[in-house]
């Protein structure tokens, strides 16, 4: 048995990162305002008429307030989005994905167990579990870097939703198999071939829970 991931850690990390970003934006806005103030004072010393005009209620001062408000709005928006995600995380609890085997080989069947504890009552609209192979290629064009993906879905399983009470646990077992003519996990500079299980949970009134769990497929053929 192998536990490949749970999700609360990254979610909390994401929340704190967004909070940090919001604080950074606020501090930056305050510093920017101070910097412009100093600049106006400096200009005022060199040219008293210009200084009086800039420090007054003319257009530059309004622009400064508008810019600060935009910065504040971005910070508040980030906080709102992450707080919602965080609350959704508290509601649906810690998801776990467990594989029946420590190593998965090409052509091998294995069982995946998806387990999720509901901390509070939630109305789940649907749960979708997808097993897929992804090619990821990154390339440079001029000074820009692009990344493209190509997914091949090998199994898609849709579970109807329902009402879950606080403390209730949802568990789903799925039999999966890496095709015999499939490819093992490969990671090289700007070229990746990887296998994933994507879990998508739609909860009424809350942000969707969406996460990819990587499954490492070793370069061996099952049954050899």
């Amino acid at each position: 048995m192998k536990l490949i991931a749970n999700k609360n850690g990254p979610r909390i990390g994401c929340f704190f990162a967004a909070l940090w970003n919001a604080c950074t934006i606020l501090v930056f806005a305050a510093l920017a305002a101070g910097f412009v103030g100093d600049f106006i004072t400096e200009l005022g010393r060199e040219d008293p008429d210009l200084g009086r005009f800039l420090a007054g209620n003319g257009p530059p001062f309004l622009i400064l307030i508008l810019v600060a408000l935009i910065f504040l709005a971005v910070g508040v928006f980030l906080l709102w989005v992450t707080a919602r995600t965080m609350i959704a995380g508290f509601r649906v609890g810690t998801p776990e994905v467990v594989l029946s085997k420590d190593r998965v080989r090409v052509g091998e069947s294995f069982q995946l167990t998806y387990r999720q504890q509901f901390k509070r009552a939630a109305e789940v609209q649907k749960i979708n579990i997808k097993f897929y192979f992804r090619e990821t290629a990154t390339y440079q064009r001029g000074t820009d870097t692009y990344t493209v993906h190509h997914d091949v879905v090998h199994l898609e399983h849709q579970i109807p939703g329902g009402h879950f009470n606080g403390g209730q646990q949802f568990e789903q077992r799925l039999a999966l198999a890496v095709p015999r003519d499939g490819m093992h996990t490969f990671e090289a500079y700007r070229n990746q071939l990887r296998w994933f299980v994507k879990v998508h949970v739609e909860i009424a009134g809350w942000p969707d829970y969406d996460h990819d769990y990587e499954i490492e497929v070793v370069p061996e053929l099952a049954g050899e």
């Binding site: 090619e135 990821t136 290629a137 190509h150 490819m183 700007r190 053929l221």
Partner: protein, 130 residues
């Protein structure tokens, strides 16, 4: 028109389409033949085993072996042959996908001073018999 004809002949491996297939961890062996049609001023002749990616992503590559099979100039009409044998690694397997392909190859390089190298790339497949 190249001054040297280069050939790679595999001893083992299974024919798979237009290429030879070798299993991961198996031995790839064969013979390199060089037939100079004119005297060629060369520093050395190299044999390189490796893989690279092709497709949308920036090229990635891996060099597994590189050996010097001859030194000095090649004389007109005097053929050169070299028997090689390499142990292949277990991965990556050859792959042809939508954005990415993994190509295995043997490359013979006639390294020439102040001139463009003469080379022959012989692709092969590294994969299991499935």
């Amino acid at each position: 028109m190249a001054d040297v004809t280069l050939q790679v002949a595999f001893r083992e491996g299974e024919p798979d389409g237009e290429y030879h297939r070798f299993g991961p961890g198996s031995t790839i062996s064969g013979q390199i033949r060089l037939m100079p049609q004119a005297s060629v001023n060369s520093r050395r002749v190299l044999l390189r085993l490796g893989w690279h990616t092709e497709g949308r992503g920036t090229r990635a590559s891996g060099k597994i072996e590189e050996i010097e099979i001859a030194q000095g100039s090649l004389s007109q009409g005097i053929p050169l042959s070299y028997d090689f044998a390499f142990r292949l690694p277990l991965e990556p397997w050859s792959y042809a996908g939508h954005y990415i392909s993994i190509i295995w190859e043997l490359e013979v390089i006639v390294d020439r001073p102040m001139a463009r190298d003469i080379n022959l790339i012989q692709p092969f497949i590294l994969a299991l018999d499935r």
